[in-house]
Point group: D2
Chain length 111, copies 4
């Protein structure tokens, strides 16, 4: 178990929040936080979005929202006993087969 | 930069996908993947959701969706030059002040 | 064009917000509002969620969030020149073929 | 009750799906469908997104996804006994006070 997983778990246990941290609830909490992150970007042009971290206030909000998303994703994975990094690497390997570099270069089309 | 960040970045560069991997687009891709994860849980009772990893097929789908969410979250953080773990720990520290354990124990109320 | 569509359009035009109300942005705004709606329900048990409208404060928040979701969905459909009710009825007809009542009764399995 | 609400309710009852159509589940289903809608737009430039309905295939997918979102939003409102159009109009009135046209013209800043 990595450090972040342990810290988030301790945070929940100290508050007796295991009763709320059930998979269905955590998936919803994750979706709610992603919604807040999306809202930070919704009215920005692609150019403004690309420079968002140069703005101290907006950059701090984006960083905080990404932190929130990571906290709930970490907690959800912990509760489901999934290793987040392993799950991502396994999926990346699978996607690499479906999207061979030489066939999809420069294209965003779904396969 | 950790290993997963490097792997996801290489995956994108080998496919010349940096042109698509702009913050606004990646935030949307993240939201889309979270939507797929939510869909895995939508009709489950809390009990069924709690046992989802015991079902080989549903468990594999959940793991794959969590992998997808982590991939896009990692990529988004990389493009914005945010350290995911640091952002999560910083936010956790901030939330710990707003929700002192002795005051919020056992309560899910917002503060 | 129905009344709500006209009212939302006028609201945007009076504020010169057509420049922001582009499809990609509106889809994100919709996702952001749905995230807020999800957050209202995330820590509730199914029983509490079923009685949420009996609580004056929580009920008012849920109603307001559903109003927000409907506003952005209406605006998005208007900008894309889609009739919301027609699109829903067309999809319902299509889904009825894929999920014949006699075959799927009482089952939430995907087809 | 309008026609669409009645049609969606009948669709659910014919399949004995009331047992699944609980508020928490429907909110999740709504979020899942919005995720699919977001995915249709994620890699498009603002210009491509603005012309998406001119593409027969992509346009049909967007229309179908918007139909799905409207179906679940209608069903959720029905189950919570909320009038969708009234909720949207009430919220619009409230937002009009917070964002007076003469003060916010041409600005996307939050108030």
């Amino acid at each position: 178990m990595n450090d972040l997983t342990a810290r988030v778990r301790a945070f929940a246990e100290e508050r007796d929040w295991q009763q709320f941290h059930k998979p269905k609830n955590l998936v919803m909490a994750l979706a709610g936080e992603v919604g807040e992150l999306v809202a930070e970007f919704q009215w920005l042009t692609p150019e403004q979005a690309g420079a968002v971290m140069d703005d101290a206030e907006a950059g701090a909000r984006v960083r905080a929202e990404i932190g929130d998303v990571m906290i709930y994703l970490t907690r959800l994975a912990d509760v489901l006993d999934i290793d987040l990094e392993e799950a991502a690497l396994a999926k990346l390997t699978e996607v690499a087969v479906r999207y061979p570099a030489e066939k999809v270069r420069g294209s965003a089309a779904k396969r």
